[in-house]
Structures are given as structure tokens and as C-alpha cells.
């Protein structure tokens, strides 16, 4: 067996230079390929975010001079009862939509996991997700309208003789109505995610549990839920952030100007910026929302260390 001797370079520096040339050339190619993404990121994310942060410390009506006001906008928002209402409504919406929405999605995913024609059901449940949010809101407006005009209320009244609340006009009930619409329209996405999670569970694990005498509930509690806990965690984080950002359906479904029960933080941001032209104040409200979202997400990540299992 012969010994392979590496070829000696003819000079000591030429290969190094060649390698450097290749590296430089690759670097340029890489920069070129990354440029569209980086430019898009700068133009549509970094710059607007930076501008919003600067604006939060200024007073500006969108056209006139900007003036520096320090933390006044933040102080004004944090002491404004309307902003307090918006925060409380947003929290209520999250508390209603996240646990109920995810539990429902998990139950549907568990039911669909072993049925035939799974793809068909997946498409059916996913349809609301790909439907325009404005169309969804208009449809629910027809369903939830008060009196004889609403499909739901007129049916309940005619068939059961009850007088249900004015879902979209009653400040006490409107957030429930919004939560129902939100859950309905996001159910399909969560079902698909949970189904994907369920399919990663090795059948041998559930079989082993059954052989050991575990019933369906015990299998769910001790095998299924721990195994899909990373999926549940992911869906929870996304659902909380989505509920904090709720706007389009609310904007179409109700007018939060006339029903303060529907005023959420994002509507407050829109109202301040695009109806009252107080862009500084609006940016401050948006940054408070960002901070709130970061805090809640941080808490969720802290909690997942104890609740989420990443072992296979």
C-alpha cells in the first residue's frame, strides 16, 4: 500500500491568494443574491420600525413640523382611560380566543387524525383561513346583527322564544362576538398545525402505552400531549400575538368609535394615527403594544422550559 504524499505547492503564497479570490468572489455572489431580501428588510421593516420609534418621541400631524416631546406621548397614553380600555379589551380577546380556539383545534385535530378522507376535512377546515377577512366579517355581520335582522338572533327568538343580546352593539357582548369570529376563522390553521404535530408521534409509543394498559385518556395525557407540546407551544405563541394584533375583522364588523367594548390596542393605534392624525401618539401606542407582546412572549418562553417536552 503506497503512501499518498500531498503535492507540494510550487510557491508558498499562490494557493492562499487563489483561495482568497474564491472567497471574495463567493462573497460578492452571496451579497448579490441576498441584496433583494436585505433591501426589502431595510425598506419595509427596519426603516419603518426605526421611524416609528423616533416618531413616538415627537408630535407630528403627518404634514407639518415635527417637534420633540420626549416621553410625553407614552405618559399620555398610559394615563388615557381610552388606552386602558383598549388594553383590557385586547387582553380579554386573547383570554377568550387562545385557550378556547386552541382547545377546539386540538379536539378537531384528534378527531381527524385517524379518519379516512383526512385531506378533505383539512381543506374544509382550512377554507376560512384563506377567505378574505373582510368577507368573513361581513358574513358574520349578517349572522350576528341584532333583532330580526340577524340570522342567529331571529332564529333563537323564533325557535326558542329567547331574546339574545345585541352581539355587535352591546359593549358587554361585542368582544365575545369578535372572539367567536376570530376562533372560527383561525380554527383551520391550528387544526392543520396540530394534525402535523400528531403525525410526528411514532405509533410504537401509543401502542406500547396501550399494551401497558393505558386507556385513551391516559394515552392522550401521557403520550400525545407531551409529544405535541412543542406544537402546542408554537401555536400558543402565534395565537397570542395574533390576538394582540386583531384589527381588520373588528374594523369591518363593528365601529369601535361607537362601541368602546370593541376598541383594541391596534384600533387605538389606527384611530390616533389615521383618524386624529396624531402620529407621535399613535407610534407610542404601537410601541407599548410591542413591549406588551414581547413581555407576554418572554413569559411564554420561560414557562415552556417546564411544560414543553422536546425529547423524542
Amino acid at each position: 500500500m503506497g503512501v499518498v504524499t500531498p503535492a507540494r505547492p510550487t510557491t508558498g503564497t499562490r494557493p492562499a491568494r487563489a483561495a482568497e479570490r474564491v472567497r471574495n468572489r463567493d462573497g460578492w455572489w452571496a451579497a448579490l443574491f441576498l441584496a433583494p431580501q436585505v433591501l426589502g428588510l431595510l425598506a419595509f421593516l427596519v426603516f419603518p420600525l426605526g421611524f416609528a420609534i423616533v416618531l413616538a418621541f415627537m408630535r407630528w400631524d403627518g404634514l407639518g413640523e415635527k417637534s420633540w416631546v420626549g416621553f410625553d406621548n407614552f405618559a399620555a397614553q398610559l394615563t388615557d382611560p381610552e388606552f386602558g380600555t383598549a388594553v383590557w379589551n385586547t387582553v380579554k380577546l386573547a383570554l377568550l380566543t387562545v385557550p378556547v380556539g386552541l382547545t377546539l383545534a386540538l379536539l378537531v385535530a384528534l378527531a381527524l387524525n385517524n379518519v379516512r378522507g383526512k385531506t378533505f376535512y383539512r381543506v374544509v377546515y382550512f377554507l376560512p383561513v384563506v377567505t378574505s377577512s373582510v368577507a368573513v366579517a361581513v358574513m358574520w355581520q349578517v349572522i350576528l346583527a341584532s333583532g330580526d335582522y340577524g340570522v342567529l338572533n331571529s332564529t333563537l327568538h323564533r325557535w326558542f322564544g329567547v331574546t339574545p343580546p345585541d352581539w355587535l352593539d352591546d359593549p358587554g357582548w361585542v368582544i365575545v362576538a369578535i372572539a367567536v369570529v376570530t376562533i372560527w376563522s383561525s380554527l383551520g390553521l391550528n387544526v392543520v398545525i396540530f394534525l402535523a404535530g400528531l403525525q410526528t408521534i411514532p405509533p410504537s409509543l401509543t401502542e406500547a402505552a396501550r399494551i401497558d394498559g393505558a386507556g385513551p385518556v391516559r394515552v392522550l395525557r401521557s403520550v400525545t400531549l407531551p409529544m405535541i407540546s412543542p406544537t402546542i407551544f408554537f401555536s400558543t405563541v402565534v395565537a397570542v400575538i395574533s390576538s394582540f394584533q386583531a384589527f381588520d375583522q373588528i374594523y369591518v364588523l363593528v365601529n369601535p368609535d361607537h362601541n368602546e367594548g370593541a376598541r383594541t390596542i391596534v384600533y387605538q393605534v389606527y384611530d390616533l394615527g389615521f383618524q386624529k392624525f396624531e402620529f407621535g401618539m399613535s407610534s407610542a401606542a404601537a410601541l407599548i403594544l410591542l413591549a406588551l407582546t414581547l413581555i407576554v412572549t418572554f413569559v411564554q418562553f420561560a414557562a415552556q422550559k417546564r411544560l414543553v417536552h422536546y425529547d423524542s
Partner: protein, 434 residues
């Protein structure tokens, strides 16, 4: 058989995408007010809000205009909802991509005037090519579009705020006097109006329905002999008569003598309640003709101005919108040609023949009177001729009108007590005007 794209092809695509992004972000590609188009034609962009019916009327005007001016191509940009229109316009003005000519609502005109984005129009309106001269429009309707004698926007039409009333509803409440006849006799007083509202309430109906906007609120204040703005100061909460007017409104909303159309359920809204005779009066403009037509009993309804303290005529509120010329227009001459024809007598006759507004220009009154409906249609013209658009002091502060309305709504709905609400309202306005 397909081949994977080469690195050079991909690089070229990346370069093209980068260039496209850079161009899009620079705001120089295709945006901005119109300019020279192909074959010596000039494109004029103009924007407005409006329903599908409004847009159809504007389109007819555009077609007619382009036939008469073959060198001008009009490009109309519409937004369905009034609330969504001004944010878009503001964004366009900030990014220098606004149309050459655009509508501005009376609650926003002051801001645009103050920020210097509009062209003063006095010289052009008085010039030889003008089809609409400054004196053709009633002084009070200019509102915030006129500052220091300079005209920055021309009223393109108006909607005087009057009280519509249902004769049967009044009769059912035992009211035998006709408001329009009382007005003609100089006896249409605030006291008489409130007395009628009380009778309607006693008969299980609402007295009046108001939308929560300056047109109704300030007309009631005027009816009590009060003032809203005086010497640049907001005095609606401090002037005794104005305060009495606001207090009367607050009490009326509390005991359901008055209804706020804004908070009525959509399924049983203001139109429905009025058409069903559940309320005696409904404050609105000429647009109400379409509403009462749907009721099928047009003869039941008539109009009367808001009552005054003494029964003598008083200035009423007039909703107005303005047509303004972008200061950055690259073709201001052609843009003005469009503007002046749009607001001219002929332009308004064409646009308003089936519309729900009142012409802003003198000499086009036949649009309002020729149908003979409502019976006292002349009232709409009388209010327009002597009325006022929202106060310049108020519209000069962006969003102030909405802030005032929001604060008042808290009082009308009982979320804030009257005295506390007045204190907060005054502080809010003082804070905003600085």
C-alpha cells in the same frame, strides 16, 4: 427537458429585483401628481370619496370633460368610505404622490391649508380661464378653505343641515302645528321645538334623532343663542347659553327624548326608526330624500331649519367638501381647468341632477327646486346661503373635530357626567389648540 438556471441568470434576476425594489422605495416611479403623457396629452389625476352612484356621476363628468378637452386625460382615484379617504390622501401628500386635484372634507381642510400643500386659487379663479369666480360661492361655505383672504379650496357642493319631520308622527303625538308653517311665520323657536319633542316623548316616541357631528350640535347651540368659538377661543362649555344647549342635549339623550344615530343598532338604525314614525324629527341634509323615498310615503315628510332663540332666521350648519389643487402639480394649468369646470354651474348641474347634495355655486338652484320635493326645498337653499361650514379655528387643528365629537359622545351616552364632560372637553380643546 429543463435546465437549472445558471448562477449568472440567478444573479441577473437578483439584480433586477434589487433595482425594482430600489425604484419602488425611492418613490420616483410613477407616483406624484400627473404630468405630460404620450402624444402631447396631459394626464390629470384627481381623487375623491364616494358611493358607486357618486362615482358613476363623476365618470359621466369626466367623459364629458375629456371630449371637450382632448389634450387632457383624467384619471379618477376613488375611495368608497369618507373615513378612509383622508388617511390615504395624507399619506400621498407626505410621500409627494398625491393627485393633482383632490376632494378635501370640511373637517380636514384646515390642516392641509396650514401645512402649505395646497395652491392658493384667488388669481386663477378671478382669471380669464375661470368658470367659477370667488364671489360665485357663499362666503360662509368657504369655512376653513379660506385663510387670510386666500382661497385654498373651492366648495364643490354642500349639504345644509335641516330638520326633517314626519307629519304623521307629530300628529300622533298631538302636535297640531306644522313646523314649516311656524318657520314661515317667524315663530319657529327653540322653546316650541323642545315642547314638540316633549310631546313626542310623552307619546312613546323619540323627539329627534341626531348624528353626533358639529352640524347638529352647533345648530342646537345656535338655537339657544349660544356661541361655539369666539375670538379664537372655544366657548361652547363656558358661554351660558351654549352650556344650556349642551345640557339640554345631554338630558335629552339620557331620557331618550333625543337619539344619537351613531349608537343605534344597525338593524334598527336612525333611518328605520324615522321611517317607522318612532321619532318625530331627524337632522340631515338633502341626502335624506333617498332615505324617505325608501319609506314609500314621501308626502309625509317635510323640512324646517333648526329653530332659533327668537324665531328669526339664524345661520345653520352646512356640510361642505372642497376641491383643492396640489401645490406639487406639474401641470397646474390643466389641473385648474378641470377644477374650475368641476365646480362650475354647469359642472354641478351635471353632477347633482340625481345626487343628494345642494350646489355650492350661485345660479344652479334649479337642481334643488325642480322636483318640488320636499315641499319646503327652498329651506335647503336658505340655510346654504346664510349658513356656515365648520369653524376655521376648529378645522385648523388636525383631528380636533373628531376629538370633540368623541368627548361629547361620552356625555351623550352617560359614560361621563355633564359637568365632568364639559371640563374635560374644554381641557381637551385648550390642549389641542395650545
Amino acid at each position: 427537458m429543463s435546465f437549472p438556471p445558471s448562477k449568472k441568470t440567478l444573479a441577473a434576476a437578483a439584480l433586477a429585483l434589487t433595482a425594482a425594489l430600489a425604484t419602488a422605495c425611492s418613490g420616483s416611479g410613477g407616483g406624484g401628481a400627473g404630468g405630460p403623457a404620450a402624444a402631447g396629452k396631459v394626464t390629470i389625476r384627481w381623487s375623491t370619496w364616494g358611493s358607486a352612484e357618486d362615482v358613476a356621476l363623476y365618470k359621466a363628468f369626466n367623459d364629458d370633460f375629456m371630449k371637450r378637452h382632448p389634450n387632457i386625460v383624467l384619471k379618477m382615484e376613488t375611495v368608497p368610505k369618507y373615513e378612509d379617504y383622508h388617511p390615504k390622501l395624507l399619506t400621498q401628500l407626505t410621500s409627494k404622490t398625491a393627485p393633482d386635484v383632490f376632494f378635501v372634507g370640511d373637517d380636514n381642510i384646515g390642516k392641509f391649508v396650514a401645512s402649505g400643500v395646497l395652491t392658493p386659487l384667488n388669481d386663477r379663479l378671478a382669471g380669464p380661464t375661470s368658470k367659477s369666480r370667488p364671489e360665485d360661492f357663499f362666503e360662509g361655505v368657504y369655512g376653513g378653505a379660506k385663510k387670510d383672504g386666500k382661497i385654498y379650496g373651492v366648495p364643490n357642493d354642500t349639504n345644509p343641515e335641516v330638520l326633517w319631520y314626519g307629519k304623521k308622527a307629530l300628529q300622533e303625538a298631538g302636535i297640531t302645528e306644522d313646523p314649516a308653517e311656524l318657520n314661515a311665520a317667524g315663530k319657529w323657536t327653540m322653546a316650541k321645538y323642545l315642547e314638540m319633542n316633549a310631546k313626542l316623548k310623552a307619546a312613546g316616541k323619540a323627539g329627534s334623532i341626531f348624528w353626533n357631528w358639529y352640524g347638529s350640535t352647533y345648530s342646537v347651540i345656535g338655537g339657544f343663542g349660544g356661541k361655539v368659538w369666539d375670538g379664537g377661543r372655544f366657548v361652547a362649555t363656558t358661554d351660558p347659553k351654549s352650556r344650556e344647549a349642551l345640557s339640554t342635549l345631554a338630558k335629552g339623550y339620557a331620557d331618550k327624548t333625543f337619539l344619537s344615530a351613531d349608537v343605534l343598532p344597525a338593524s334598527n338604525g336612525a333611518n328605520t326608526q324615522f321611517l317607522r314614525g318612532k321619532a318625530g324629527f331627524y337632522a340631515g341634509g338633502r341626502w335624506m330624500i333617498e332615505v324617505v323615498k325608501k319609506g314609500g310615503d314621501q308626502a309625509n315628510y317635510d323640512i324646517v331649519p333648526f329653530p332659533s332663540e327668537t324665531g328669526a332666521p339664524m345661520p345653520g350648519a352646512v356640510a361642505a367638501s372642497y376641491l383643492a389643487l396640489n401645490k406639487d402639480s406639474r401641470t397646474p394649468d390643466e389641473a385648474f381647468t378641470f377644477l374650475t369646470e368641476f365646480v362650475s354651474k354647469e359642472g354641478q348641474l351635471l353632477r347633482l341632477k340625481s345626487g343628494g347634495a345642494v350646489p355650492s355655486i350661485k345660479g344652479a338652484e334649479q337642481v334643488v327646486l325642480e322636483g318640488g320635493y320636499p315641499a319646503h326645498a327652498q329651506t335647503l337653499l336658505d340655510v346654504r346661503d346664510t349658513g356656515f361650514a365648520n369653524y376655521p379655528e376648529e378645522v385648523a387643528v388636525p383631528g380636533l373635530t373628531k376629538d370633540i365629537n368623541d368627548e361629547l359622545m361620552k356625555v351623550w351616552t352617560g359614560k361621563v357626567g355633564f359637568d365632568e364632560g364639559m371640563t374635560k372637553l374644554q381641557a381637551l380643546v385648550d390642549g389641542r389648540i395650545g
